[in-house]
């Protein structure tokens, strides 16, 4: 109990310290000077006022080296994770979840029984069902279904394990993305990558432990919180790198500044910052100290690892990279390079998957094909490349969106739309995992005949999280962080490891 109270007091002090701004500083100065003047008048009246303020702040080993590695609690199957998120939610019905029955009902009204009590983002009244727009084939030895939107992917279909009946309780992009990456639809929780780097640290001391790469012309709707550190120390948040131009903004030294000068500058600043920390005990100061040092080391290491020009032509062709541009293909190649260099968690976001049918680029039969083409080759290449380097054994690759799409054609405003589109749908959608410890060619879960709901092997977002943590060597029920008087988990009070897809 006493520990708990101490911890709460510490948290309160930390909040206060965070709130201290320049204004407070000046205010403190004014009071201080006034106090000085008074103290000479009332010298000796109050012995306490002149005694130095006691502070309990001190540096622990992990404070100064927050990414120092920690042993996983249990046997881990993978060292790193590459999470490929298709922001906007791809249509499972045109990619992996083959529903021939749905074709028979194409153009018919959706039965009322399915619509009762359901919330949709845009669908109004009675929408019509829409058959799959893609052609499907069973591929590989596993015989899992892949559509002709993903013609290259069939080469690796035997390496991945599908989850066909994932469900989420969110139907708008922002909250659903937050839920998918932090385990909560509300702001404030740490992302999976933050949990992973907090719990395990990172091997390469010159690179961030958690790197984020975005493509598709936009960042996720939920903003940077999807790679935020929530209540974990800020140093564990994802570091966003760019595949176009400077990989990390403002990391280059200005002309005329030598590396030695930079080093002594940072040393001087950090010396002051450490004094500040001892005085105010604000954890944000620690984060700042570490970020300066990391940035200094990154100045050399990051341009090296982020340079894809040194890769062989074969590799560049396989991924289909476009050097100098921001592309998902470039990011996939970078993901491999980062994992190869010991980065713990690489998060890729590709934007532009929201296929409502309101515009051409957001149509199921045209825009979605373009998006699929943009990821098909890079993802297949990534899996093959990881495999041939022996990295797939120690890396977990996760693919998915924040939810899936309806078997019904969207009828925004109860009108026929300009293009074919599908609305947001969280009841059942497809994700897949590949890599260390994952059962190759597995397929878990089944949806009903029209792909509306899961009927077998339903798994929740929490279950997916529990499984990712298990592969990294955690028991998701024991991996906690105490905040505001209670222990928090990535999976909160839910989640069950999906054993069916584990080797």
């Amino acid at each position: 109990m006493k520990d708990l109270i101490d911890k709460l007091i510490q948290e309160k002090l930390a909040r206060e310290a965070e709130a201290k701004t320049r204004r407070h500083f000046i205010k403190n100065c004014a009071q201080g000077i006034g106090g000085l003047a008074l103290s000479s008048i009332f010298a000796g009246c109050d012995p306490l006022s002149s005694s130095p303020k006691k502070t309990q702040a001190a540096f622990s080993e992990r404070d100064l080296n927050p990414l120092a590695t920690l042993a996983p609690p249990y046997s881990s199957k993978v060292k790193s994770v590459i999470y490929l998120h298709m922001a906007g939610a791809p249509s499972q019905l045109e990619m992996f979840d083959y529903k021939p029955e749905l074709q028979k009902f194409d153009g018919q009204d959706c039965p009322q029984s399915l619509l009762e009590g359901k919330k949709f983002a845009f669908i109004k009244g009675t929408p019509k069902l829409m058959g799959p727009q893609a052609k499907f084939k069973q591929e590989g030895e596993s015989g899992n279904w892949v559509s002709d939107y993903m013609p290259h992917f069939k080469k690796v279909v035997d390496d991945v394990a599908f989850l066909k009946a994932v469900h989420t309780d969110q139907f708008n992009h922002g909250p659903a993305q937050l839920f998918m990456h932090t385990g909560s639809a509300r702001l404030g929780r740490p992302s999976i990558g933050s949990w992973a780097t907090y719990g395990l640290g990172s091997v390469n001391q010159n690179l961030p432990g958690f790197v984020v790469l975005t493509s598709g012309g936009n960042t996720p709707d939920a903003g940077k919180s999807v790679w935020g550190s929530g209540f974990l120390p800020s140093v564990y948040q994802g570091v966003q790198c760019r595949s176009k131009g400077d990989p990390v903004l403002y990391i280059k030294d200005p002309d005329g500044v030598t590396r030695n000068l930079k080093k002594s500058t940072i040393e001087a600043i950090n010396k002051i910052n450490k004094q500040e920390y001892l005085k105010y005990a604000d954890p944000e100061i620690l984060a700042r100290i570490n970020q300066y040092e990391m940035a200094y080391r990154m100045q050399i290491a990051v341009p090296e690892v982020m340079n894809i020009n040194n890769e062989s032509d074969n590799i560049k062709q396989m991924y289909g990279v476009e050097p100098g541009k921001e592309s998902f293909a470039n990011n996939c190649l970078l993901a491999r390079k980062l994992v190869e260099d010991g980065v713990r968690f690489v998060q890729l976001f590709d934007w532009g998957w929201d296929t409502h049918g309101n515009i051409r680029s957001g149509s199921i039969d045209m825009g979605l094909r373009n998006k699929c083409r943009e990821i098909d080759r890079p993802i297949t290449a990534l899996l093959l490349d990881l495999k041939q380097r022996g990295l797939l054994d120690e890396t977990l690759v996760v693919w998915g969106g924040e939810f899936g799409r309806t078997p019904m054609q969207e009828n925004r405003g109860n009108k026929k739309m300009a293009y074919k589109g599908r609305d947001h749908h969280g009841d059942a959608f497809t994700m897949w995992m590949a890599g260390g410890g994952i059962k190759k060619g597995a397929c878990h879960g089944k949806t009903d005949d029209i792909g509306f709901s899961g009927i077998e092997g339903k798994v929740s977002v929490h279950d997916v999280h529990a499984t990712i943590l298990q592969q990294l060597g955690f028991d998701h029920e024991q991996f906690t962080y105490e905040f505001q008087g209670r222990n928090f988990r990535l999976t909160d009070v839910e989640g069950e490891v999906i054993k069916e897809i584990l080797a």
């Binding site: 042993a71 249990y74 091997v203 396989m318 289909g320 010991g342 094909r369 297949t380 380097r389």
Partner: protein, 464 residues
């Protein structure tokens, strides 16, 4: 009148605490006051009200007995001792008030009476508690060994012991179904505590069913309550076992279902039942495929790890349950053959060694051969040609060698055939001329030459 009877009866559990309070208070005062005698006037008052409230408790208790259908046999001890307590309380009151009418009592020392009274009130209260909560309510939380020492029957979890070799000959009910029901259901469905009048500890009782009828429908799990209830969502009130109790695993539920579908055989082996092996695989011992040997090893001195890490070599404990180490030179690209000596203090504990992108040469093999527990070896992006690699064949735990982007030559591939545990060799971007040998030792070792390509497809250039 019936209403009043029931209502008053239900007040009994509340009222009983009054006499207990008064009497224990009185006894405590007596004890505190044993020398000074400051409260001599107060103590009889406590016993007086103790007696009054005890009479009230007796009356309400009797009404409760009448209206709630207890058998007299089950409450008789509580009833008689309750009445005795009420009488005794008044007796103490009179005695302490100095009534001379009971000659016999005058001869008994007050201490003796008080002790009897304490025993009596405790006994009465305990009997009442047993009626309300059940006989084993108090001892239930005790650990099993203490329970059996006290002579109380214990509930023992039964383990399902199946192995790769014996699973077919194991008995379907005795060895598998019975332990599942025993561990997850029987604690509430046994002869002593038959919730819903259902007993699940023995075949005939299972077939008898409970107050809602039979729980097994012949060869039809989907119609059998035993199976249906376990499959209901947690928040359904009919879900079994109830929330808070240990839940059966998905595999256990599935197996019980399959067992019912097969006609719920109580006799015979698993093979006789005709159930598929997949149903049982989760009960078979798990084959551990870890990247470290499956043995216990002593931890290394923390100081030697710190000393090695000072040189820039990175060391991790492989996980918190094992003392094996993962060693990486990712932050020390200058590592060369001579630096190997640094690792000697921890050599038995090294299970994973990453020497990728370092300056090691073919001379490292002789040294690596001294790491008895080496399981995963990474030598990618080095100048290794494979000469002397046969020296590693003494490593009985070695599972994987990564030689990606090295000068490894074709002629050395055959040497791997002598490696006893090797499973995986990575030879992408090496000097190997042919990729014909895909496996060695009858498929035990697989070789990945990489060089995958994704030829352009016509669809690659179609923009919609």
């Amino acid at each position: 009148m019936e209403v009043l009877k029931q209502l008053l009866g239900r007040l009994h559990p509340l009222l009983v605490h009054l006499p207990i309070g008064f009497i224990v208070f009185g006894l405590l005062l007596q004890f505190l006051d044993r020398k000074k005698k400051d409260y001599a006037q107060l103590i009889p008052i406590a016993y007086f009200w103790g007696g009054i409230s005890a009479v009230a408790a007796c009356i309400t208790g009797y009404l409760q007995y009448l209206s709630e259908g207890y058998s007299f046999e089950s409450i008789k001890w509580h009833l008689w001792s309750g009445i005795l307590t009420a009488l005794f309380s008044f007796l103490m009151y009179f005695k302490l008030n100095g009534a001379k009418s009971f000659n016999l009592l005058n001869k008994m020392p007050i201490v003796f009476l008080s002790i009897i009274f304490l025993i009596l009130i405790s006994f009465t209260g305990h009997q009442g508690g047993n009626i309300t909560h059940g006989k084993d309510y108090l001892v239930e939380p005790l650990p099993n060994n203490i329970k059996s020492a006290l002579g109380i029957e214990t509930f023992e979890a039964k383990e399902i012991l199946l192995t790769e070799d014996n699973w077919e000959t194991a008995l379907i009910y005795e060895d598998v179904i019975h332990p599942i029901l025993n561990n997850k259901c029987v604690s509430c469905h046994n002869p002593k505590k038959a919730k819903g009048n259902l007993l699940l500890h023995a075949p005939e009782e299972i077939l008898n069913g409970g107050e809602n009828g039979v729980v097994i429908s012949d060869k039809n799990a989907a119609e059998s309550d035993l199976y249906i209830r376990m499959n209901l969502p947690m928040d359904n009130d009919d879900h079994m076992p109830p929330e808070g109790k240990t839940q059966p695993t998905k595999e256990e539920i599935k197996l019980v279902g399959a067992w019912i579908d097969a006609g719920n055989p109580f006799k015979g082996t698993i093979k006789d039942s005709g159930l598929a092996k997949e149903l049982f695989t989760s009960f078979l011992p798990k084959k551990e495929n870890n990247d470290y040997p499956n043995i216990e090893i002593k931890p290394v001195e923390h100081d030697s790890i710190i000393a090695i890490e000072k040189t820039g070599i990175h060391i991790d404990q492989i996980n918190k349950t094992s003392n094996f180490l993962s060693v990486s030179c990712i932050n020390k690209p200058s590592f060369s053959d001579v630096d190997f000596e640094i690792l000697l203090p921890i050599k038995s504990n090294i299970a994973r060694l990453d020497l990728g992108s370092t300056k090691v040469s073919d001379n490292i093999f002789k040294k690596l051969a001294t790491l008895p527990n080496l399981t995963i070896l990474k030598l990618d992006n080095t100048s290794i040609s494979g000469k002397n690699i046969e020296q590693l064949s003494v490593l009985n735990n070695l599972k994987s060698i990564n030689l990606t982007a090295t000068n490894f030559e074709s002629e050395h591939i055959s040497k791997f055939a002598n490696f006893s545990s090797l499973q995986k060799i990575y030879l992408y971007k090496t000097k190997v001329l042919t990729t014909e040998i895909k496996t060695l030792n009858e498929g035990q070792i697989s070789i990945d030459y990489g060089g995958y390509e994704l030829p352009a497809l016509p669809t690659d250039s179609i923009v919609y």
